[in-house]
């Protein structure tokens, strides 16, 4: 079964890098540009994992995580947040919103895959 991962980031470069790496590793990827876009797409798609940036227009990552956790189908989905500044505060906020883990930007493809493997059974 192909596993679907949604990536949410307002930066096209980051989205592309995520898509390349994940698709290379055999995952199916759905891209979204911000929280609102992501929630809209989630209505029609069942995903196995979500990777989201924190600082985004319209709806930021923390709020997205909170919203996603509210939708019945996604209560237990692993959510990884991408943090630029590895400030403890942001991490904590993300975690209390329901994030599973984090990756500090910039990161290498191997680091990303390692984290994905760690949370995706």
């Amino acid at each position: 079964m192909s596993r679907k991962i949604m990536t949410v980031d307002d930066s096209a470069t980051v989205r592309q890098m995520l898509s390349f790496t994940l698709q290379d590793a055999g995952y199916e990827v759905i891209e979204a540009t911000d929280g609102v876009d992501a929630l809209e797409k989630l209505k029609n798609e069942a995903i196995q994992m979500l990777i989201t940036d924190l600082n985004m227009p319209q709806m930021d990552g923390i709020e997205l995580i909170r919203e996603v956790r509210k939708t019945p189908g996604n209560r237990f989905v692993p959510i990884i947040m991408l943090t630029t500044e590895s400030t403890e505060q942001k991490k904590k906020a993300g975690k209390s919103a329901g994030a599973s883990g984090w990756i500090v930007k910039p990161f290498k493809p191997e680091q990303l895959l390692r984290v994905v493997k760690m949370v995706l059974v």
């Binding site: 237990f76 692993p78 994030a99 599973s100 493997k117 949370v119 059974v121």
Partner: protein
């Protein structure tokens, strides 16, 4: 206090020394086997460590010398040689002596062995031992108690455990104690926690990385244990004191004196009896409520019985591993090259059965090496590999365990057996014996086909001892042999001696029990049929004429036998014999009780059991009954 430690250590060391021996013998067969080297090293290491802790300083110091040399072997700086194996086997025996004796023994031999080991060390010894730690396996004990809401954060502990398992050799124990009852369970919460023993070369950081996302919110403890050590009992020893007392203990085994278990089994026997009486009373009263209670008691009793009997089950492997050394030493003594292979070492058997099985197996293996396996030169001429093989296999088969001792030697020469038997006057010249009966002769006391008497066998003592021991265990023994290809002895043993499946029969008012394993069938015997045989105790079953024994006469039970009696046909000692009883009651699971001191020597009975109504049924010893009858006839 120290005395208790010392005893525990003695017990434990016994097991480890067995393991050490097995590993050494395996290492001898494949000298480059890294796993075997690891096992040898671990065994030495454990003995050294626990020896020092329990006050066996001498053992610890001695073992340290041996370990030092194996340190080099493990790093590939010293090849394994036959000499080294021999020396280490000697050292192993020495450790055993040191542990068993309570001081005051001559230590010249110890010094001698130490000196021999030191010769293996290079000059710059100190240097050699400082091996960088990153090439080394280190064992970590990890306790991972995730927060209950871990799923809600989208983390699946399974993924983490998988990740851990990829780091090295990993043993995971899941603790399920905290799972609430079904009606109270919240499926969205995690009720499990884990103890993990991980042996890896990757170091602490790699392990921490796995838990990076959960580290802060869960209880996680990672401790490095002794290098390469992987016994889970060390989990207990390395527990840090700051641990909360509420966490369930992780002790994986408890040592209990075997007498305690025996008395527990005795009590269960009593309980089963009382329960049977309760059941009988309940059904007689036709009281529904009492019936209900009685049924619950019955269920619990049987469950308890099974559990307790289960406690006494031990894997047969410990016995098997002892034979590796025996085969090697005997082979060397007799100038034969023999290897032992085993299979099914994990098969479990009652402790008492295992203990009493050891001697017969030794006899059989000696026999295989002495009579079965040919000298290397002879084997080569016959087109076989020069190395002889003995295969020990154990497996479950219903309520029995089958143990096979197989060699690929010369097999049994049935003509030779026949001739010997005639020469000894066991059979007449005209006797027409089938293969099975001929094999049966091998178990005759004093029988031997060996041309010469050796240190090992040939005196004709052995097979009859084996037979008797196996009979004593309510078991059976079969021989299958093909000339030139080898011989297979198959032992069939009951799982436990405490309870047998029996056939309950009645003569006048007395009850008796046949071991069900020996019973083949039951037929009716009409008075008229018996009279037709003209007083000879013979009955025709499907064309075969079989002798029978009247138990009423044998036990001198008063009263008249009924018109139609029952013959219980059995197979004892390879021959079929019938036993005449008044009535066959049915199958009965009998909890065996030993007969009292006064009755211990009564022949023909092996024990007794108590029936549901409190009356006693005697358990018949069929081979003995046949013997008594035969000696009367003579």
């Amino acid at each position: 206090m120290t005395d208790r430690y010392r005893e525990t250590f003695r017990d434990e060391a016994g097991e480890i020394l067995c393991e050490l021996e097995t590993a050494l013998l395996e290492l001898e067969v494949s000298p480059g086997d890294g796993e075997a080297i690891g096992r040898v090293f671990r065994a030495l290491h454990t003995i050294k460590g626990s020896g020092a802790m329990s006050g066996f300083d001498e053992v610890a110091n001695f073992t340290h010398e041996v370990e030092t040399v194996y340190e080099l072997v493990r790093c590939g700086r010293l090849p394994v040689s036959r000499d080294l194996i021999n020396l280490t086997l000697g050292a192993r025996d020495r450790i055993k002596t040191l542990i068993e004796s309570s001081g005051g023994i001559d230590d010249a031999r110890t010094r001698e062995i130490v000196a021999a080991f030191r010769k293996y060390l290079p000059e710059e010894q100190g240097d050699a031992l400082s091996i960088s730690s990153n090439c080394r396996d280190i064992t970590y004990h990890i306790r991972f108690c995730p927060p209950a809401d871990i799923f809600l954060r989208g983390i699946n502990p399974l993924a983490l455990l998988k990740e851990l398992a990829e780091l090295g050799q990993c043993r995971i124990t899941t603790h399920t104690e905290a799972i609430p009852a079904l009606e109270e369970i919240d499926p969205e919460l995690c009720h499990l926690w884990w103890d993990i023993v991980l042996t890896t070369t990757r170091g602490m950081d790699a392990i921490r990385d796995v838990f990076i996302f959960v580290e802060e919110d869960c209880e996680l403890r990672i401790e490095a244990a002794g290098q390469g050590e992987e016994r889970d009992r060390t989990v207990v020893g390395n527990r840090t004191p700051d641990q909360e007392p509420s966490a369930p203990d992780t002790v994986s085994s408890v040592r209990v004196r075997s007498e305690k278990l025996d008395s527990l089994v005795d009590l269960i026997g009593e309980l089963v009896t009382v329960q049977a009486r309760l059941a009988q009373l309940a059904s007689a009263r036709a009281d529904v409520e009492l019936d209900g209670v009685s049924e619950v008691v019955e269920r619990l009793t049987w469950e308890l019985r099974d559990q307790v009997l289960n406690i006494r089950m031990l894997p047969i492997g410990t016995t098997f591993s002892r034979f590796g050394r025996l085969v090697r030493d005997l082979g060397e003594e007799l100038g034969k090259d023999v290897v032992l292979s085993t299979e099914g070492a994990e098969t479990e058997l009652d402790k008492t059965v295992i203990e009493r099985l050891s001697d017969p197996l030794v006899h059989l293996i000696r026999n295989c090496i002495d009579h079965g396996i040919e000298p290397p030169a002879v084997r080569q001429v016959a087109g076989k590999p020069p190395k002889g093989r003995i295969h020990l296999a154990a497996r479950h088969s219903g309520a029995h365990v089958m143990i096979e001792v197989r060699d690929d030697g010369s097999g049994i020469d049935l003509d030779l057996v026949r001739n010997r038997a005639m020469a000894m006057g066991l059979v007449g010249a005209e006797a027409d014996l089938n293969d099975k009966e001929l094999y049966g002769l091998l178990f005759h006391s004093g029988f031997s086909t060996a041309a010469s008497v050796s240190n090992v066998s040939g005196r004709g003592v052995g097979m009859d001892v084996v037979k008797r021991a196996i009979d004593g265990l309510c078991g059976g023994i079969d021989i299958f042999s093909r000339p030139g290809e080898g011989t297979t002895f198959t032992l069939k043993l009951p799982l436990t001696l405490a309870i047998i499946d029996g056939l309950l029969v009645k003569i006048s008012g007395d009850f008796f029990i046949f071991p069900l394993s020996a019973v083949e069938e039951c037929i009716e015997l009409h008075k008229t049929d018996a009279e037709k045989a003209h007083g000879r105790n013979l009955v025709t079953v499907r064309g075969e004429i079989l002798p029978y024994i009247r138990l009423r006469e044998q036990f001198a039970i008063a009263g008249k036998s009924p018109e139609i009696e029952q013959v219980v046909l059995t197979e004892a000692d390879g021959q079929r014999v019938g036993f005449v009883v008044d009535e066959v009651v049915g199958e009965h699971q009998a909890v065996i009780k030993a007969l009292g001191r006064m009755y211990r020597d009564v022949r023909g009975l092996s024990g007794a059991t108590v029936l549901g109504d409190g009356s006693v049924a005697l358990i018949l010893d069929l081979p003995q009954l046949v013997q008594i009858e035969e000696s009367l006839a003579c």
